[in-house]
């Protein structure tokens, strides 16, 4: 009962195939063929021929447009539709070269497909399939060749060679580790520290000017970098990627976290801008709710509560940069972030 339909018994054991009652229906064979118009009508055939030829000619036209556009509608030089070198010129150049090429290739395709559909035979043909499995003789011969070959190599009789061969082949991949290890430095304590140091001024991102406490209005937000971090600094971008921070100012009466307030200055708080989820810049600040929102996966941090996570996939609060005001009234860091910034990693809580 559990046989395959072709009567063989399944190699994998019992099958769930339900045999067909009475062997099922017989296959009726191919249905009779219905002819197309162009098969019998000479006029229809000639019409189809002309259409195909017309489509091929359209393609030639497209090629001509494409080539002409390369000289007449260029992005920076001659352009018959727009001022030389303008953004419009780029747009026109793209459009006309593109249309030319599109026409050139599309109509070759359209012609070929129309040709095949109307003029080439549309009567289905049948080809027999053959089992992929070799005949029993072939399989036996193959097995014999392999056994014989194995015997000739003496693999069964020479355990010493086999063992050392396995050892050699197992050892070789370890060699790959050597070049791999030169792809980059070890992490060391790099991820545990940023550019910030005690006494470093907070400067506006991009124009680099330092910020006075008095400049920070209630509910405002500043994107900041360490003042000393400039384009001349070694590893400029890497340092920026870790040092980026934001200044927010809240009414201290709203503060829910004493320690966080103490690390700030009269409600001016500075947090790392790098999301503790997977590291996007946390760029959006909702002034009414005092929430910072990461645009990547919407982790939401409450700045009145030490930037604790209140929604989304991040787990750790944004690390807070401790600050004070220097003699000239500028905001300065009193040290680095107290813990690593950005995404969590295995040994993030280990001191390094």
């Amino acid at each position: 009962m559990n046989d395959n339909l072709d009567g063989s018994s399944p190699a994998r054991g019992v099958s769930a195939i339900a045999p067909k009652e009475g062997g099922g229906f017989p296959n009726p064979g191919l249905a009779p063929h219905v002819h197309r118009q162009a098969d019998s009508d000479k006029r229809a055939e000639r019409r189809a021929e002309r259409v195909v030829a017309g489509l091929f000619l359209l393609s030639v036209l497209g090629t001509a447009v494409f080539i002409a556009a390369y000289f007449l509608v260029t992005p920076t030089g001659t352009n018959i539709f727009a001022e030389e070198g303008s953004t419009r010129a780029v747009w026109w150049s793209n459009l006309i070269t593109g249309l030319g090429l599109a026409i050139a290739v599309f109509f070759i395709g359209a012609a070929a497909v129309h040709w095949a559909k109307t003029l080439m035979p549309d009567e289905e043909m049948v080809e027999e399939r053959h089992a992929l499995r070799g005949t029993d003789e072939t399989r036996q011969a193959a097995a014999a060749i392999i056994t014989e070959g194995l015997q000739e190599s003496g693999i069964g009789r020479r355990p010493l060679i086999v063992t050392t061969m396995v050892a050699a082949l197992a050892a070789l991949p370890i060699a790959v580790l050597a070049p791999l290890s030169t792809l980059g430095p070890l992490p060391g304590n790099k991820l545990h520290h940023t550019f910030w140091k005690a006494g470093m001024r907070l400067a506006r991102d991009h124009d680099g000017t330092p910020i006075r406490a008095a400049d920070v209005a209630m509910n405002s937000i500043f994107h900041v970098m360490p003042e000393d971090l400039t384009e001349e600094t070694e590893h400029f971008l890497e340092e920026r990627a870790k040092a980026a921070a934001v200044i927010v100012r809240i009414d201290p009466a709203l503060g829910k976290n004493e320690e966080s307030l103490a690390n700030g200055h009269e409600g001016i708080l500075v947090f790392s801008k790098i999301c503790t989820h997977v590291g996007c810049p946390v760029a959006l600040y909702e002034q009414q709710t005092h929430h910072m929102l990461c645009p990547c996966h919407q982790s939401t941090f409450d700045v009145t509560d030490g930037a604790k996570v209140i929604f989304g996939p991040a787990h750790r609060p944004l690390p807070q940069l401790p600050i004070e005001v220097d003699a000239e009234g500028y905001l300065v860091a009193t040290g680095d972030f107290p813990e690593p910034i950005g995404p969590s990693f295995w040994d993030i809580h280990k001191d390094k």
């Binding site: 994998r12 070269t97 593109g98 095949a116 399939r129 991820l191 590893h235 997977v278 996570v309 996939p313």
Partner: protein, 538 residues
């Protein structure tokens, strides 16, 4: 005619071309619109090769800092990498450069759409069954490599979006226990972003990954020829033949022509529709990010899980385990593994080790079809979750509510959709059974002498009927006798609601009944089945 008469002597005597022609030219390929998607994938890959080669002539994969002094005014004087600058150069100064950039990107999107649709065509029609399991795995690897190709390419221009994509990948890698930070340092050649990642991705993008894809495509097609293409059920089609049109000339013209059609459409879209306008985003800098920044569509699903997971992370012996990252990755791995392994799972359930060359109609395999739909629903929910900020903005919803909606639906939707799909398939099967037994309704009703109403049915001819009765039937197995309890449960899950195809005996009985009915109808109508209006016309 002789080979020499068609100019083939020279080649045949050098490479045995005659044998090749004899072997290939009259190979039969079956015809169906759903077989087109694999072709689209192949052709868009060719377009990627052509347009990508053009781009390599002008693109400079270097992260050296430069100051921009090109024609695009808004960026003049800004610091940027050579990679970004050369992409601007391609876009604004190279003749046809913008066109080829946009063609490359559009072709990449089409490539991935085609791969996915093709994969699910194969899934829903059971084309992965013996002997095609290995080719399914090759195709699966191509899908994964396509994503790698797309991601590495997307990262090359070094604009804000591509940089943020890399930053997310960096964060994901760091979360891997023990080795995460090492892997990140090795990949980036130091701390993120460093100056190595773009040259490294460039080598992967234009050499390593395309070479692998090309090799796998070759294997894919060689296996296709060895297996011969599967065909849909139809009269005259069996597991031992293939019915269709010859490679030469019909398919050469159709498929060759189709390549040019795909090429033409991608070019038309690229001529008229901007994509990845990197000058709007600006060069990569670790500090700014724009809201609503999304990856290319085929990477969306990998971002969705990251948005849905709550902030779960714990510390054990002072070491941190970020479930908020690891769990989504496990889910992604599970989704992919399910796809890769499905042919083997199903073969284990059915125990069917025959060769299959006639495709299944999806409604004849309700559980498989249901599972496929459930998989797609999870995939789409993940992809939609990755655009939750855009959806929230468009529909004026709160992101938090929307996130909760997705969190719930990712559990509910697959189960619900599985059930609905399965029911739908079963009811189609029932309806097809009726069709076979009772024929087509003609909407012509006659009243018998006893006052009963009888509708006249037009029986199917044997060719129409064959398609509806040819499919295989499976039934659940009982545990014991070589069947494990687990497998018995699995067969019950798959086949307990089976609807058996019509058997010849059933049809005979139905026909006898119909014959009797026809007798009654003939008495009333004198054998004239035309309705009164039709009679009046004559």
């Amino acid at each position: 005619m002789k080979l020499g008469a068609v100019g083939g002597d020279w080649l045949d005597e050098r490479v045995g071309g005659g044998g090749l022609v004899k072997f290939f030219a009259r190979k039969i390929f079956p015809d169906h619109w759903s077989f087109m998607f694999g072709e689209v994938a192949l052709y868009s890959f060719v377009i990627l090769l052509i347009s990508g080669t053009f781009l390599t002539m002008f693109f400079d994969p270097s992260m050296t800092e430069v100051e921009y002094d090109g024609p695009y005014e808004a960026l003049q004087g800004m610091h940027m990498s050579r990679a970004y600058e050369s992409t601007l150069y391609i876009s604004f100064e190279v003749k046809g450069g913008l066109l080829f950039r946009q063609m490359h990107h559009w072709a990449a999107l089409v490539f991935m759409v085609a791969i996915f649709v093709h994969m699910f065509r194969v899934f829903f029609t059971g084309a992965f069954r013996k002997p095609r399991e290995l080719n399914w795995l090759v195709g699966f690897s191509l899908m994964v490599l396509g994503m790698v190709a797309g991601f590495t390419g997307y990262s090359l221009p070094d604009d804000v979006l591509s940089g943020n994509g890399l930053r997310v990948v960096d964060g994901l890698m760091k979360a891997i226990p023990i080795v995460g930070t090492y892997i990140s340092m090795l990949l980036f050649g130091g701390e993120f972003p460093g100056t190595h990642i773009i040259p490294r991705f460039f080598t992967m993008h234009i050499l390593l990954v395309p070479a692998m894809i090309l090799g796998l495509i070759a294997i894919h097609l060689v296996m296709l020829v060895a297996h011969k293409h599967a065909h849909y059920p139809g009269p005259g089609r069996t597991d031992r033949n293939v019915v269709g049109f010859p490679l030469f000339p019909v398919y050469t013209a159709k498929a060759g022509g189709f390549f040019f059609l795909v090429f033409g459409i991608i070019t038309l879209v690229s001529a008229t529709t901007a994509i990845n306008a990197i000058w709007v985003y600006g060069p990569y800098d670790p500090s700014p990010v724009s809201a609503g920044s999304q990856p290319d569509w085929y990477m969306l699903w990998t971002d969705g899980g990251l948005r849905l997971i709550p902030g779960w992370e714990f510390t054990i012996f002072g070491y941190t385990v970020s479930l908020n990252i690891l769990l989504p990755m496990v889910v992604y791995g599970g989704l992919l593994a399910f796809l890769a392994l499905y042919p083997f799972i199903e073969a284990w359930v059915t125990g069917d080790d025959r060769e299959h060359h006639v495709l299944d109609l999806p409604y004849n395999t309700p559980v498989r079809t249901g599972l496929g739909v459930a998989w797609i629903s999870v995939y789409l929910i993940l992809a939609m979750a990755a655009t939750n900020d855009l959806i929230a903005l468009k529909m004026h919803l709160s992101i938090n509510d929307l996130t909760w909606l997705f969190r719930i639906s990712i559990f509910v939707a697959p189960v619900l959709l599985f059930w609905i799909t399965k029911r739908l398939c079963l009811s189609i099967q029932r309806q097809k059974r009726n069709l076979v037994l009772h024929g087509e309704e003609t909407s012509r009703v006659v009243r018998t002498k006893t006052g009963d109403m009888l509708e006249i049915h037009e029986p199917l001819d044997e060719f129409e009927r064959w398609v509806l009765v040819q499919h295989d039937d499976f039934r659940p197995l009982k545990a014991g006798n070589g069947v494990s309890a687990l497998r018995a449960k699995a067969t019950s899950f798959f086949f307990k609601d089976r609807i058996a195809p019509v058997s010849p005996a059933e049809l005979r009985e139905a026909m006898e009944h119909a014959h009797h009915e026809k007798h009654v109808i003939d008495e009333v109508t004198d054998g004239d089945y035309r309705i009164p209006a039709e009679k009046a016309m004559h």
